[in-house]
Amino acid sequence: MLDSAMAALASLADPSLLIMLLIGTVAGLIMGLIPGLGGTGAVAILLPITFGMEPPQALALLIGALAVVHTSDTVSAVLLGAPGSASASVTMLDGYSMAKKGQAARALTLAFLSSMAGGIIGAIGLTLAIPLARPLVLSFASPELFMLTVLGVALAAVLSRGNIIKGVSAGLLGLILGMVGTSPTTAEERFTFGSLFLGDGLSLVAVALGIFGLAEIASRASQRRGQKETITLGGGWGQGIREWLTHWTQVIRGALIGIWAGVLPGVGATAGTWLAYGQAVATAKDKRQFGKGDPRGIVGPESANNSVEAGDLIPTLLFGIPGGVPSAMLLGMLLTYGIQPGPSIITEHLDLMYLIVWSFAIASILGALFCFLSVKQLAKLTKVPFAVLAAGLVAVMLLGSFQEGGQLGDLWIMIILGIFGWLLKSTGFPRAPFLIGFVLAIPLERYYFLTDSLYEGFDWMARPGVLVFLAILILPMIWAFMKFIRARRKTNLDDGHRDEQPEDDEAPLKNSTWSLVASGIFALAFAAALISSASFSPEARLVPQLVSIGGLVFSGILLFIEIRTRLRAKAGRAGWTLDAGFALKTFVWMTGFLALTAVFGYLIAVTIFIPAFLLVVARARLKVAIIYTGVLYIVLLALPSLLPIDLPQGWLNTLV
């Protein structure tokens, strides 16, 4: 084992790997600064670039980015009080207060050092998990692997923040969407409506970028104004280092909480950081300074949000169930390379496992180093209004999702899913179970049929591993049900809720006509899936039918609750809010861009879309728009010769 670890380290001396790691780290740092992207956005945008690479290079790039996204997202949280990702909003509590006192440097030092330590501890956790889980993983057969995939979707649905029924519905719809394409058992086409390009299934990048990326852009594009306040870093570098050293126990505690939050599917960086913050407050005797600039309020959460990403990788690589959305995409990437996470990665690709560990640790250190060196420049970047960034992001995301299949159809699906993702986000549906379900749909079905063909009837259910997983599956549900009952009876007043994050306005359209529409879409989709699966052969229709029946039940409950609240609310909240209008307008812009691409080709579409979006939506100055478009155009022109990237050709190009 030590041999493969050292061999992996030696392989990192390979310049091509090292360069990829560096590029990944820098890209991750920049994407951490952009609000709303986070680890999900970073992996989704970088994933298309890796399509032409060897697995080690691709992993070095992606892991490099993933490891440092949460290092740089602190910068804007501390300096501007505007977090770069949801998980950095915890750091804002104490970090921004410190910055207001003129001690931004102290807060940033604490944050960068803790992020680094969290990343390293996370990597160590991942290393230790390999030998610990190895005998367990190797004892797994198809029944256990089937249960694991079920568990992956179910836990993500139950543990995600918000309503469990919403989580389960989202997970089941993700499963249905993942089954679009060729059935793994009978090789017949399902849910393709005769379309040829749907036969390969939906592109993972298009789904992820739509549900998360475009949805995030649409809900934030209304932020035209950048921060006008002047940013001062102030002093306190030395003080920060000293305080970090005195609070080393908090660093380790935060990192361990982060790893645990990462291991659980559906509990991501956001919940992990709030847990770490709660823990820091709970263990502090003097709680007076929390929220007003307590170093312990920065150290623990910052350490946690980096180790979450490492913790996510543990179930992803060892059991093949993604611990979070970014790792769900990594899983999808590994599968396209023919690397099956779970038992086979431990036996055949141990070197890749250690490469991931080393990349994670090295990137964490590099990330913190870069942040220290370039904090002044990073601070300036955070002042760019989001609407200006959005123009370029839309162009990059559309280009990215084109790479997997090279078909414009993927881009249309991405925009449709973007609208759907925005609807989910604003009506309080968790999106993580949706994507995890999407990724796990095919493995789930494959393992089920393997199990079914190897065992007589339900004999496989009696295997001890399966029973343990069943227990793990049922316990959280009993727990959630118990909490629900206690909340109904109002006997939960004294129950601890330290781990809960404060109520936020993440879902502004909850309990409105919008959420009613969302539930309606769910019910309709499941009904349509049930009806169209009736025409499949018995083997191909079993799983889709089960999933859509389950989905119908859950979305039916949801629809019932929504209608009841609609009827009860007399005045009702305004159906059409300003933000909703703006988000939908942004989607119209994206559709226009795609239509232009379809007709004139990508390059011409960019030269029309970018300046128009900048001038009309972002209200940027003409000079900015011209320079922006010019630079982007040149970069895009040069890109295909630097990287294995194709630019979409339009209808006009086919004529010439």
Binding site: G291, K490, L493, G496, H497, E500
Partner: protein
């Protein structure tokens, strides 16, 4: 002198408030109310006004405060430490051992973490 009442819109919170008002009058102390209910259920405006009138008549002040901390237990302790209060009043009811183990208990944490005397009142009396 200040007495802190951890208020929530439930029997426990009511009990704590009644006892806290008594205590404030007795100790000639100002009253500080911290709302700890889920979902920000605050006291009714009318009730606050009545209470304020009652206290000002006795020459005492009423403050209502909240904390950035999400956990009610931590919030109560933080405000108590910040304001340097002389006593925390909380309401409680019976909790089973298993329930406390699995779900935790805010009251227990306030009792164990508080740096000032805590007056605990039973809401489910005999």
């Amino acid at each position: 002198m200040t007495v802190l009442v951890a208020y929530a819109p439930a029997a426990e919170g009511r009990e704590a408030l009644t006892e806290g008002i008594k205590e404030a009058h007795l100790r000639k102390a100002d009253l500080l109310i911290v709302n700890i209910g889920r979902g920000h259920h605050d006291l009714e405006a009318q009730e606050v006004q009545e209470l304020e009138g009652q206290l000002t008549a006795a020459g005492l002040a009423l403050t209502i405060e909240s904390s950035v901390l999400a956990d009610p237990g931590d919030a109560v302790i933080q405000i108590a430490q910040e304001r340097n209060v002389d006593m925390i009043v909380i309401g409680l009811r019976h909790r089973s051992m298993v329930g406390k183990l699995i779900l935790g208990s805010t009251v227990q944490r306030i009792l164990l973490d508080a740096t000032c005397p805590v007056l605990a009142v039973r809401a489910d009396k005999l």
